[in-house]
Symmetry: C2
Amino acid sequence: MVRICIDAMGGDYAPEAIVQGCLDAVRDDTSLALTLFGKEEAIMPFLQKAGAEKERICIVDCADVIENNEHPVQAVRRKKEASVVKALRALADGEGDGFVGAGSTGAVLAGATLIVKRIEGILRPALAPMLPTVTGTGVLLIDCGANVDCKPEWLAQFAVMGSVYMEKVRGTREPRVGILNNGAEEGKGNELVKNATPLIAQMPVHFTGNVEGRDITSGDVDVVVTDGFAGNVALKSIEGTAAMMTGMLKETLLSSFRSKMGALLIKPALSGFKKRMDYSEYGGAPLLGVNKPVVKAHGSSNAKAFYHAIHQCKQMVEGGVVPTIEAELAAVMKAEAK
Amino acid sequence: MVRICIDAMGGDYAPEAIVQGCLDAVRDDTSLALTLFGKEEAIMPFLQKAGAEKERICIVDCADVIENNEHPVQAVRRKKEASVVKALRALADGEGDGFVGAGSTGAVLAGATLIVKRIEGILRPALAPMLPTVTGTGVLLIDCGANVDCKPEWLAQFAVMGSVYMEKVRGTREPRVGILNNGAEEGKGNELVKNATPLIAQMPVHFTGNVEGRDITSGDVDVVVTDGFAGNVALKSIEGTAAMMTGMLKETLLSSFRSKMGALLIKPALSGFKKRMDYSEYGGAPLLGVNKPVVKAHGSSNAKAFYHAIHQCKQMVEGGVVPTIEAELAAVMKAEAK
């Protein structure tokens, strides 16, 4: 049985969508047990309709919730009764094997770092969402906002962590790891990239060199290493452009009677297109580098997205992502010490 | 008469597309005179078919060309006879009012900085392409690769230069200037952004605060200030996503007989959609901060894109972009000296 601690109060559609995602997850996977942390009276109504699957769901009542607008570190330190804090505490205490939450990113980062703590030797944990690629295999972008100012050594560790994740969770053999840069040619880059490149080249990963913004989603690499600032800019630029184009396309299709007729005809094909662009099947963003699997689901997660995030967290547990990162890192440090 | 110096040998489709763009430009605008720098024997064949408009086109024969794979600064210093070098030299000597080239970005940057030189007081020139927005007004992203490691004061100057450009060339009244950041909330940002924000707030621009990657193309701001690394990542992420989605959409529409029929019906509406996403009407990327208008046209420029880049350069001349930047900067420095 894999036991996952859930922040039932985090996310735009919590607790309803979260509880529904949890119910769907335990129904489809009998080796899954979930503990929902949150206000019992808010959660219960959405559990009542459920059948036998709810036997593998239990609730831990929490008096408090951390909101998006709060200062993460202060809130985590002060609000001991907050759902995200109690869930991460239970995880750290061994009462669960992983954590999934869709609430404040800052609170998940701060809570995981302060309570679950870093893997020994890891300099900084990193947030690493998957993005869809042309090839359909997906790409991991690490870091996307946990560390806005980075040192070269941190990026070298991100490369290792990202590679382990793709291998253990996505089943990618010898994941190709690139570094986000402002040009494909050698010698390009800001100071950080120039200094990180030789360090990544020494890591036990299949390093393929520079990746430009336009090639993140090409499918040519499986992991793109970057600092949290540039990664966040890239992630949101990609999301924003996709949303803009989808919106403009919709408008175009509804602009005349003729195009509406056409839209009806292409509808089945278009649903395949939408599916390929759908992030939610990849789950949320793993926070790599802490002692237990922690997944940050998207704030706008619906039941389906949260369902996938739970599945992803279970894969991280079963794939042994944390012990593998630990072992890889120990090997690197041993080699460096020589 | 506005006289523009053209690098006729730069770009993927040079010299044919460049010469054609030049011919179209002088045909449509009788107050335009162009000097084409390049290999005369390569250029002449494409001029021969032209009519009376070629009277306002002259050629300066250049023995050399700078290629994309050369080291820009070394190439500019060594190849005195290269088309881009001779064109920028003519510009600096007052034989032209502006420059347009579609060749190596590095060579245009290095050549403009070394030969045309920076406006007095400008710390670093910046490359500032326009991107399409949902609203159709376009947004200027400054810098996009001229300076990969930036200081806060440079970003403050980028804000002023970008605002002047939007006002003088795009006719935007009180351009809204934002800074690219990893979150919309105050207090977000890496060291550079945190230090640049208060400086930009003191500049004579309409500063509206943080812009996330997903909002660059929203039309909520007219200028997005950033360092050349993050700007390049954002620009290419947006371009790449747009290209990926267009490609996937095409594939979708051709995937079945039914969707092909639908595609025929939506074709007219789709052409409007394509037009809204078309960058080329904005011209190329101005290099702001040097003593004369310099426009870097896209390497893949066809005749139409180059035509628009020439028009854009002329607008920079007529709008007085360079003297206005000079005056704004002098006013800022005077205020700071008090």
